[in-house]
Every structure is written in structure tokens, then in C-alpha cells.
Amino acid sequence: MIRHWLRDPLVHFLIAGAVIWAGLALVGEPVDPASRTIELSRERQAGIAFGFERMMGRAPTDAEMDSAIERWVREEVLYREALRLGLDEGDAVVRRRLATKMDELAGAEAALARPSEADLERWLAKHPDKYREGDRLTFRQVYYSSESAAARALASRDPVGEPISLPAKAVAMPLAQIRGTYGEAFTARLAELEPSSEWRGPVASGYGWHLVRLETRNAGQTPQLSAVRDRIEADWRAATIAERRQRAYALLRGAYTVAIE
């Protein structure tokens, strides 16, 4: 039961909030919107100066630093006063923004988590097609501008073809590259052929007609985890974040009764 609780996004949320409060209280950042004391820590000042330097390529002068601080203070004062007046309520943008931040909070832990090897292996085993490499084909092709010429040439052991600036031989070319080079129609037809020492065709393409001798087809393998670790980790993380958000919402939603008149 406690284990279940510990995995609960809402619990994470509350703990994260508490930790932040503790942290902010310790470093003395302005935490209370009702307070009328604004403390400008050394760190905050350094941040303002650094922001200036990064853009302008030089440190701010004293006067520039003063005006940057004044602007920051002005914003902070107005921000606190706005909260005091409750202006954050009833504003559609604030409402949506806060809802988004709740979502982000629910996913925040997953965004930083380091999945174990086992997590990733499980993910790969569950979605092998997503990571399977495309087939690679080795073939020769000759080109004809008319279908009948291509059909006639099929009788020859060594068809010559007409000139065209396409590779006459492709070695272990990935399907995606075949598609980009020879076009969709040609690639679709090639995908159906079985390797053979015979010339086949005519195969239509966006250029005309081809005779093709498909020598080998290396079916794409599902790669080892090590080869696609980054991709899998990214996908695992995105899915985990989405799932936690959904669970967090479901949990919160369960505490509400919604009456629609």
C-alpha cells in the first residue's frame, strides 16, 4: 500500500511542492506574495547581470545594472499586487497556463528519471516494429523510355538500356533511399520481387521502365538496445510522461463530482 502511494503522481506533486518551499525558505527567496519585503539576493543580481552580458557580450555598467534591477523590482511589485488583488482568478489564460503546469508537474519526475536497462529492454520488446531497420536491397537496373523496348530487352541475357542518371547498381541500399532515388512506384514493385539471377520487368517508375535484377534482400533486423538506446529512452520518457499525467488527472478527477445541468 505504501509502495503504491510512493508511486502516486499526486504524492510526488505534494512532496515536490514541499521540497521547493523548504528550499526557497532556506535561500531566502521571496516566497510569500503577501509579504511587502523584496529581497534581492546576490544570486538574483548575478543572474540579472549574466543575462545582460550574454546578450550584449559585455558586463553591464553600474547605471545599466541599476536600471535592470529597477525593472525587475517593478515587475515583482506589480506581480505581487496582482496576486493580492486576485487578478489571477477568472483569467482564461492564467487558468489554462496553470492547468498546463499541473500537467507538467505530474510528468516532471518522469522527465528527469533515468530508466533502467530492464525498462528499456521491455520497451523494445514491446514495440519491435517501431525500431526495426528497413530492408536493404542489392540490385542492378537498366532503363528504357518505352515499355515495349523494355519488354523486348527482357529476352537478352545482358540488357543494356538507355542512358539515365540513376545508379545502375545499388549495393545494400535502404528502402527509404531507394524510394528517394527511384520513386515510390519502382520501390513498391521492388519490394515484392524475390532475389534471383534473372532480369525482371518491365518495372514502371516516374522516369519510364526498368529491367531489374534483384540480387539480395537483407531483411531489416530489430536492433540491439545499445544501437538505439537514445531513441528508445526518448520514446519511453514521452510515453511515461503522458501516462503519469493521465494517472494524475484520473486521481484528481476522482475526488470531484461534476454536475452538468
Partner: protein, 647 residues
């Protein structure tokens, strides 16, 4: 109590927002860097890699205001071929993935409109900003109008200071930039898909478009040491200083790509220096060094040339209508004397003249196309056009509506082109390989179709070269597109090949565009037809003219057939008008048979009746422009600045 708790939750959420992004894993070293030594490279550039170097997402001040709510991550997914959901809720996917992408959000107030939108209304203090804020929240239409006002304000220098103040923006920009760079690294996969860091530098004095896209070669280790350079109140020389400092401080490389010269009212390729006086050799050298490539075609029109400048060019009108009227917001109308500074071909000519005077050519640039889409969707395809910006994503009526960018006069939806692509001849798909192709100008522009265009220049090419490995011969005995050919006192010979897009239309013809300075110092241009379909048959040349290729477009169906034209055109061409010592450039233009533009696809899809004029304007002949080869005098009187000399 409730209120207090609400505030606490709000602040807790704010405090946590530092880790808010959809952070999905650490990129590897390979993804983080420029890709050197990560993949096996071809012996020489063996295929063109396709990309878009000019795409805006929700970080751009105008794109967000126009309504886009897709960010860089969706843009990257779309470009690499994934299906995404457009802002207006439509499924969007490319037929064929792109190989590379530069996300080029405006550096000025990067993310500012999004932050304005996210700010509680009471905190928006400036009355103008307050009004824009309200418009943005009202509807996409109102949001678009707010941005139109914003563009006009930028052009007239009346932007509220609160929006543009660089100091105030600095911290926010850095946070955005850092997380953006991390995202790019994650999506950058050497050998599969290249994600470049970049931004758009948006200088627009009096509304005249002097914009550049800035593109970095490097990963976040280097690009994270700077932030995007703002355009407001700066000059190109300052941008180049920024770029030089980046290179000196980080050891990285960066280039800038001017675009929409057609909307600059003659300022983009001026004959004089920025202060109106004579152009200095130093200015010219800097420009040549940092701006090796120009974007010649995109959604907001085609900048190759204008019928006024090229009266003997029967294909000069492509993508000119509407855009020729004046600058970007149409605050100033254009007059014909401005055109020579607004179009690419005349700029290349001016470059030759300036080089003769100063010994340096400021306008020795290669050519690419791109989209300049503000929808986060990089598509230049006529049958898959998602519009210039979000409020003109596919819907009935967008083709006939006025554009309303600053003015409602003269420019309509149907003046938009679907946008172009950049093709880079590279040995592999990495940041380093593709960036270096840009630097040596071995790139070309298309208006959307993926034609394969080759150009080699040498002195001893012959027809017999086509029988063997002519690409190897081209590299061994000549220079590829973008190169300099040193004059040897005899006419240069060119190998030219254009192969159609395998999914697209046949080719009408290939042409050589030559520009040179004659013995009297006058800049001249001439177009030579090199090869065309049915050359020996029905289209045999009669007198000087070649019969038109024909037209198979069924207007109502937005369809055509490849029963005319040719799948590939090749030529070995020796310049018949060569004179020893001549300064010249040569670039190839490959032209497709007529096809329907996006406007006709729209009309069919939404069942719209278009006026006859609009229908006929939208039967188009799409094309590719190679980067030029320059013929250089054998004994160089001055050190010619070429981008290749940057080492």
C-alpha cells in the same frame, strides 16, 4: 483560504517551471556536435540532400501572433516525416521526409508574443500591447491583425519598447535558446536527419526587407555560448561582427542567408555601401565571407529576376506578380529603378562590376530555395500546402482573400507560392557536410519539385564523357556548381544534367544563364537553351525559337500527364560567346512542363470557382536554379574574396 492555496499552488508550479519542458533524454556526443567522423562518407557528393532553411514556429513573434501553436519539436517531427496535427487541427505529413531543417525563429523578441499571450492581462501595461493582447485572445483573425500591425510598427519603428527591450528579453531568451538547442541536438541524427541551430535576423529599415537567416554548423556545446542577435536597430556589419566573434570565441562556423530581396525596394543588393557612399572593399569582403548563399525562391515570391530586368527571358515572370509592388508591408511602393537591387540575377551582375572596380565581389553567392512557412510545417509541395501562416492553413477562400499583411491592397492569397526547397550536394547527412556544401556553394534552389541537377565546368569536357562515370570526371577535371573556374584563354565547357523528380512532372528544357561584363564595362545577360524534350522531333528549333512544350493541365481536376516533356535532359555546352579575360558567371535553370499550383488543388478540394485570370496564373512551370560557376581572370589583379578562402 482557497485563494491562498491557489497562490501557493501557482507559485509552486512557477518554481518548478524550470524543468517544465517535455525533456526526453540526453543527446549523445554525436548528436550534440557537428557530426564529423560519425558516419561513413561518400567519395564525393553523390546525392542531393533536401531541406528547408527557413521555418518559423511558435517562438517567432509574428508566427505566434498569426496563430501557430506548434513548437520546434512538432516542426522537427514533421520535417523528418512524422505525422503531426496542425494548429488548426488537420493531420499534416510530408510525402517524402526532408534530410535537414533550420528552424529560424525571429531573434527579435524571441518568444515574446508567446510570453505576452501567457501573461495575465493586468500586467500588460503598454496600451498598444494591451490592445494586441486582447486581439490575440479573441480569435485567429484578430490575432493575425495584431501581428500585421506589429509588422507595420516594426517597419515604422514604433514598436512598444516593452516588447523589444533587449535587456529585458535577455534572460528569457537565454532560457528559450538553451532548451531549444538541447531539443535540436536530440533530433539531430548523423546519417538520417540533420537539425541545425539558427535564427532569423530581421532588419527592416522603412519596411524594406533586409532579412537574413543565420545558420550554425555546430551543436549546443558551441551555439550555447551565444544567444540570437537582434535585428532591430542594428546593421549588417554588426551581424557580421557577431558572427566573427562567434567563430573566434568558439571555433565554430556560422553563415547568413539573405532572403526576400524582392521585397527590399532595391536595398538588398545595393551598388553603394550602407551609408550611401561608395561600397568599401572591406564591406564587400565581409559580405562575401559571411553570406555565401541567397534564398532565391520561397512562399513570398521568387527573386530570380523580373521581366523589366530580363525582357528577353520568357520565363522571367514566375512568382513576381503581387510581390513586385513594393516592400514587405507595402509602406513604400517599388519603382523599376529599384528592381536591379532586388533580384538575384542582377545582383550577380552587379557583383561582377563591383569586382572589376574593387577586386572583391560582394555578390558571389549560391542559390537555394526554402519555405519561410510560419506554421511550423516545412512543406513546399503544391498538393500539400499548409499556407504562409496559420490563419491561411487549408480552408475554402484562402486563395482569393487579400493577404492583409500591413495593407489590403494588391496582394492576394493566390500570389503566395507553395515555397521551395534547398538541395545540398554533400558526402553524407551531417551538420558539417551540409553546412560545408553551403559554404562552397554546392547547393541549388527548387520551387518545390525534387529534381536532381548537376553542373560541372571545365576546359576539356566532351560528349564522350557521358559514356563513362561522368560525375567522377566532372569532379576530377572541372569544378561543380558554386565553384570558380580560372580562365585559360579558351572557352569553358560545361556538363549539365537535370533529372526529373521521380514523383513529379517531366522537364521542358534546361538553360544556361550567362552574365558577363563586356569590353565597354557594361553588364550583360543572355540565356541559352541547352536541351529540351523532342529536340529532334516536333520541337525542332525554327529560326531562333523553340516551340512551346505544350500543356496537359486539366484545370478543374488540378491534374496533368507526363505525355510531354522528358525525364532527363543532358548537355555538353561550350560557351559560343566567350572572350579571353572575360568576367562571367554561368548558372543552370531547369524548367518543368506546366503543372497546377496549390491554388488549383485548393479550388478542386473546396469546390471553388476561380476567376479565369487566377486559374491561368496558377498553371505554372516549376524550376530549379543551380548555383553559378564563376569564370575568373587567369592573372588575378586583386585578391578575390570567395567563401572558399575563409580558412
Amino acid at each position: 483560504m482557497t485563494k491562498t492555496l491557489g497562490c501557493w499552488v501557482a507559485l509552486a508550479a512557477l518554481a518548478l517551471s524550470g524543468c517544465d519542458s517535455m525533456d526526453t533524454g540526453e543527446p549523445t556526443e554525436d548528436q550534440r556536435g557537428d557530426g564529423t567522423a560519425t558516419i561513413e562518407l561518400a567519395e564525393f557528393p553523390d546525392r542531393p540532400y533536401w531541406g528547408d532553411t527557413h521555418l518559423h514556429t511558435d517562438l517567432s513573434v509574428d508566427a505566434f501572433g498569426f496563430g501557430v501553436r506548434l513548437g520546434a519539436e512538432e516542426a522537427l517531427k514533421f520535417a523528418r516525416g512524422d505525422r503531426v496535427r496542425s494548429t488548426m487541427g488537420m493531420d499534416a505529413q510530408l510525402d517524402r521526409p526532408l534530410d535537414f531543417l533550420v528552424i529560424s525563429d525571429h531573434s527579435d523578441a524571441m518568444g515574446a508574443t508567446r510570453r505576452l499571450y501567457d501573461t495575465p492581462r493586468i500586467l500588460v501595461r503598454d496600451p498598444t500591447l494591451r490592445r494586441w493582447y486582447d486581439m490575440m485572445h479573441e480569435s485567429t483573425n484578430q490575432s493575425t491583425m495584431a501581428v500585421a500591425e506589429l509588422i507595420t510598427a516594426a517597419a515604422n519603428d514604433t514598436i512598444p519598447e516593452a516588447l523589444m527591450d533587449p535587456e529585458r528579453q535577455a534572460v528569457a531568451t537565454r532560457e528559450l535558446w538553451d532548451s531549444h538547442l538541447a531539443l535540436l541536438d536530440r533530433y539531430n541524427r548523423p546519417g538520417e536527419f540533420t537539425a541545425f541551430a539558427g535564427f532569423e535576423w530581421t532588419l527592416m529599415p522603412d519596411g524594406n526587407n533586409l532579412h537574413r537567416v543565420v545558420m550554425f554548423r555546430d551543436g549546443s556545446v558551441k551555439t550555447g555560448q551565444v544567444v540570437p542577435f537582434p535585428g532591430i536597430d542594428t546593421q549588417p556589419e554588426q551581424l557580421w561582427d557577431y558572427m566573427a566573434a562567434y567563430e573566434a570565441n568558439t571555433g565554430g562556423r556560422v553563415l547568413a542567408i539573405p532572403h526576400n530581396s524582392n521585397l527590399s525596394n532595391g536595398m538588398m543588393f545595393d551598388l553603394v555601401g550602407p551609408d550611401g557612399g561608395a561600397m568599401s572593399a572591406d564591406y564587400a569582403r565581409q559580405r562575401a565571407r559571411f553570406e555565401p548563399v541567397v534564398e532565391a525562391t520561397q512562399i513570398k515570391g521568387d527573386s530570380e529576376t523580373h521581366p523589366f530586368l530580363s525582357p528577353n527571358d520568357e520565363f522571367a515572370e514566375f512568382g513576381v506578380a503581387g510581390w513586385e509592388l513594393g516592400n514587405l508591408p507595402l509602406t513604400r511602393e517599388a519603382t523599376p529603378d529599384m528592381y536591379a537591387g532586388s533580384y538575384v540575377r542582377s545582383a550577380l551582375l552587379r557583383g561582377l562590376t563591383l569586382e572589376q572596380q574593387m577586386g572583391v565581389n560582394p555578390y558571389a553567392f549560391g542559390l537555394i530555395g526554402s519555405t519561410d512557412s510560419h506554421t511550423a510545417l516545412a512543406t513546399g509541395d503544391e498538393d500539400n500546402f499548409f499556407g504562409k501562416q496559420t490563419n491561411v492553413e487549408p480552408r475554402a477562400g484562402r486563395a482569393l482573400a487579400s493577404q492583409n499583411l500591413g495593407t489590403r491592397q494588391g496582394r492576394f492569397g493566390w500570389h503566395y507560392l507553395a515555397g521551395g526547397y534547398a538541395a545540398a550536394w554533400a558526402r553524407g547527412n551531417t551538420r558539417a557536410e551540409i553546412f560545408d556544401a553551403f559554404m562552397r556553394r554546392e547547393v541549388y534552389a527548387t520551387t518545390g519539385p525534387r529534381m536532381v541537377l548537376r553542373l560541372f565546368a571545365g576546359h576539356d569536357f566532351a560528349d564522350s564523357d557521358w559514356d563513362g562515370d561522368w560525375v567522377r570526371a566532372g569532379y576530377a577535371r572541372g569544378v561543380p556548381m558554386g565553384g570558380d573556374l580560372v580562365d585559360r584563354g579558351r572557352a569553358p565547357v560545361f556538363l549539365v544534367s537535370a533529372l526529373k523528380d521521380p514523383e513529379g512532372a517531366n522537364l521542358d528544357r534546361i538553360q544556361m544563364v550567362k552574365g558577363w561584363v563586356d569590353a565597354n564595362g557594361v553588364a550583360r545577360e543572355r540565356i541559352y537553351d541547352l536541351a529540351w524534350s523532342d529536340m529532334a522531333g516536333v520541337r525542332r528549333r525554327v529560326g531562333g525559337a523553340i516551340p512551346a512544350v505544350g500543356d496537359t493541365v486539366v484545370r478543374r481536376e488540378a491534374s496533368y500527364t507526363n505525355t510531354i516533356g522528358a525525364p532527363e535532359l543532358r548537355a555538353t555546352w561550350r560557351d559560343p560567346d566567350y572572350r579571353p579575360g572575360q568576367r562571367a558567371f554561368y548558372y543552370v535553370r531547369a524548367i518543368e512542363i506546366p503543372t497546377p499550383s496549390w491554388v488549383l488543388f485548393d479550388a478542386k478540394r473546396f469546390g471553388i470557382d476561380l476567376p479565369a485570370e487566377v486559374v491561368e496564373t496558377n498553371v505554372i512551370q516549376e524550376r530549379a536554379y543551380s548555383s553559378p560557376v564563376w569564370l575568373k581572370p587567369g592573372r588575378s589583379p586583386g585578391a578575390a574574396a570567395s567563401p572558399a578562402g575563409r580558412e
